[in-house]
């Protein structure tokens, strides 16, 4: 059991109702101007996640506000990806719950969950002979029955996703002929074709060149602004996270260290405490982080 004061009172197995959740946030101290629980697309309460022995993530409340871009940041091993796995129901929580639009992600049938919540994983291996168009069409999987062919509606979504991701010119190109960045954009298009209200991305820009890093993040930003899609993204690069996200969640050793708009979260103290880096942080419209040296 975690040492948090209120885990004893709300049992992990009880289905938490609105008052429970409200009470839970009541003693969380990072309430911003709007009530985060009301506007939460994803809400993790008293969450413990791990792989067998010992919790990797153990946090009280974690909120991904609806219609915003939230970035999970933290050093290696701080539990960012694990938390994302908890959000996507890939990992059953050892304790606590993850609510998507107010109901538990674990209790949804897989296809229904996949219609509400998309996940872009880091792993990028697909048959090399597959064309971009075919790949994106697979994004419609959760919307099709076992025997359903691709209908006009599906086609429209595929076209829109390809267009949005800017891979129209690559539509008939097999994946084996794409660069790493183009491939990632193709996978982004596939996740877009899934047409979900919430999109989770696990380090979508790692290993990409600068041009494609920006392209991917711009597509995500556009998706959020034009379609109101809630985005939760794990990012390695704090600077990039601060530029693109509306909210940052800084994780330290499996717990939430700080939560809020980038300018409140990204501070010299955070860099020292969480990342172990002595850095100068300045703001002129957007944050600028100049690391000086690693702290012991």
């Amino acid at each position: 059991m975690p040492p948090t004061p209120h885990t004893d009172t709300d049992g992990a197995n009880e289905s938490p109702d609105a008052t429970d959740a409200a009470a839970a946030t009541g003693d969380g101290n990072r309430v911003t101007d709007e009530d985060p629980v009301d506007s939460a697309a994803l809400l993790g309460s008293d969450l413990e996640l791990g792989y067998g022995d010992g919790a990797v993530v153990d946090c009280e409340d974690i909120v991904v506000p609806e219609g915003e871009v939230t970035a999970l940041v933290g050093p290696n091993g701080s539990g960012k990806s694990t938390l994302l796995k908890g959000f996507s129901a890939e990992l059953d929580p050892d304790a606590g719950s993850v609510l998507l639009d107010g109901s538990d992600v674990q209790n949804r049938p897989p296809k229904q969950l996949a219609r509400e919540l998309g996940l872009l994983a880091q792993e990028n291996d697909a048959p090399g002979g597959l064309t971009v168009g075919d790949l994106v069409a697979h994004g419609r999987y959760p919307h099709r029955g076992f025997l359903d062919p691709l209908d006009a509606d599906d086609e429209a979504h595929v076209d829109r996703a390809i267009d949005l991701a800017g891979v129209d010119h690559l539509r008939d190109t097999p994946l084996s002929e794409l660069s790493g960045g183009q491939k990632q954009l193709a996978f982004v298009a596939m996740a877009l074709a899934q047409d979900t209200d919430v999109l989770l991305l696990d380090e979508p820009t790692t290993y990409l060149d600068l041009h494609h890093q920006l392209r991917v993040m711009e597509v995500v930003r556009t998706l959020n602004e034009d379609r109101g899609v809630t985005v939760c993204v794990v990012l390695h690069d704090l600077q990039q996270a601060a530029r693109f996200a509306d909210y940052l969640v800084a994780l330290d050793d499996g717990a939430v260290y700080d939560w809020g708009p980038p300018e409140d979260v990204v501070t010299e103290t955070l860099l020292a405490d969480v990342f172990g880096v002595d850095a100068a942080v300045t703001y002129d419209g957007e944050p600028r982080i100049v690391p000086r040296r690693a702290l012991d």
Partner: protein, 351 residues
């Protein structure tokens, strides 16, 4: 596809034309389109359904009215071609499915322990003289048993392709050792020959009974596999991605494995362990049509029969008087094919 169909037809003609009972092509032609067979549904029914079933259904007719040539063609040579075609079809489809499930293009239908389980069961059946008519059943039961055992070994709150393959190796090794051990208890030479021809995969002496045995599972497997093609495509995108698309990966993987095992068991039950077909056919088809599973499986439905029918022609007629098991020929064809592929292909990037 056209080439495969031509290969099947030519192979079939050669297979029907030559053999112990000599006849020219003209006779073959006349026998194949013998009006006594085609205009008489009862005779056709008796040939296809067998004496027993035809009698039960009340459509039996004595076959002694047929000419010798027609009888040889219809009751001996044609069923052999049919069995070869069905065996090729099932093994190729099963191989294609297993290659997607394990995401490994070197997977064969035997990768999850089926061959060793079936082989062990067959040798045990022969050693304890339980009756050769039980061999197909023993093969199917042994193969399925080994497959379930592999799943049980690999299961730890779920499976992964790698764990399944490793469990297949473990279970396979154990059954192979047992099988080799039991082999020493075979005392008669005849029994030994039966055992060896089973383990190598042979179509010697198959008839319409075997066609009936293999056709039912095939009628299930082929449509089911074609329907499941899209699931296989999604599974190939990686487990995590398949799950995030809303697939119940574990359930789907088991169901697809079971389907492939059904296909394999059907083939093994009538022909024994014909090697290499399930490995080489999907591979060859993939280099031609790409990894889209609907195209790939359709290709396998044609190329699988082509390989086995032609290989069986060679196995039966190639050495003059002696018949060798068809599995020996498929192995001899498959090995060099892979060698060629290995030397000509620069990278294997389909998967």
């Amino acid at each position: 596809m056209v080439a495969s169909t031509v290969a099947v037809l030519v192979g079939a003609l050669v297979q029907i034309r030559y053999g112990g009972y000599e006849m020219p092509f003209e006779t073959v032609w006349r026998a194949l389109f013998d009006r006594a067979v085609w205009t008489n549904p009862r005779i056709l029914a008796t040939i296809l359904l067998g004496d027993g079933l035809a009698q039960t259904l009340g459509v039996h007719r004595d076959l002694s009215v047929l000419t010798d040539a027609t009888a040889v063609v219809w009751t001996i040579r044609l069923p052999r071609v049919a069995v070869a075609a069905f065996v090729g079809m099932n093994l190729a489809v099963a191989g294609a499915i297993f290659q997607a499930i394990t995401r490994n293009e070197l997977a064969s239908p035997y990768i999850l322990g089926v061959s060793s389980g079936a082989g062990f069961a067959v040798v045990v059946t022969i050693v304890f003289s339980l009756g050769t008519y039980l061999l197909p059943l023993a093969a199917a039961v042994g193969g399925t048993g080994a497959f379930l055992l592999v799943y049980a070994v690999a299961w730890r709150g779920g499976t992964t392709p790698v764990r399944l393959v490793l469990a297949g190796v473990v279970v396979g090794t154990i059954f192979n050792s047992l099988q080799t051990g039991v082999f020493y208890f075979i005392d008669s030479n005849g029994a030994m020959r039966t055992a060896v021809s089973w383990l190598a995969g042979s179509l010697t002496g198959v008839g319409w009974t075997d066609v009936r045995l293999v056709v039912l599972p095939t009628l299930v497997v082929v449509p089911a596999a074609l329907v499941a093609a899209r699931q296989l495509d999604v599974l190939l995108l990686g487990e995590r991605r398949a799950r995030s698309l809303g697939m119940r990966v574990e359930t789907m993987r088991f169901a697809l494995s079971a389907l492939a095992i059904l296909a394999t068991a059907a083939a093994v039950a009538v022909a024994g362990l014909v090697g290499f077909v399930g490995l080489v056919v999907p591979h060859a088809v993939r280099t031609a049509v790409g990894s889209d599973y609907r195209k790939l499986l359709t290709g396998c439905l044609f190329a699988g029969p082509a390989l086995v029918v032609v290989a069986d022609v060679v196995a039966r007629l190639g050495l003059g008087g002696t018949q060798v098991p068809v599995g020996v020929v498929t192995g001899l064809v498959g090995g060099p094919y892979f060698l060629l592929l290995l030397r000509r292909t620069e990278s294997f990037n389909e998967f």
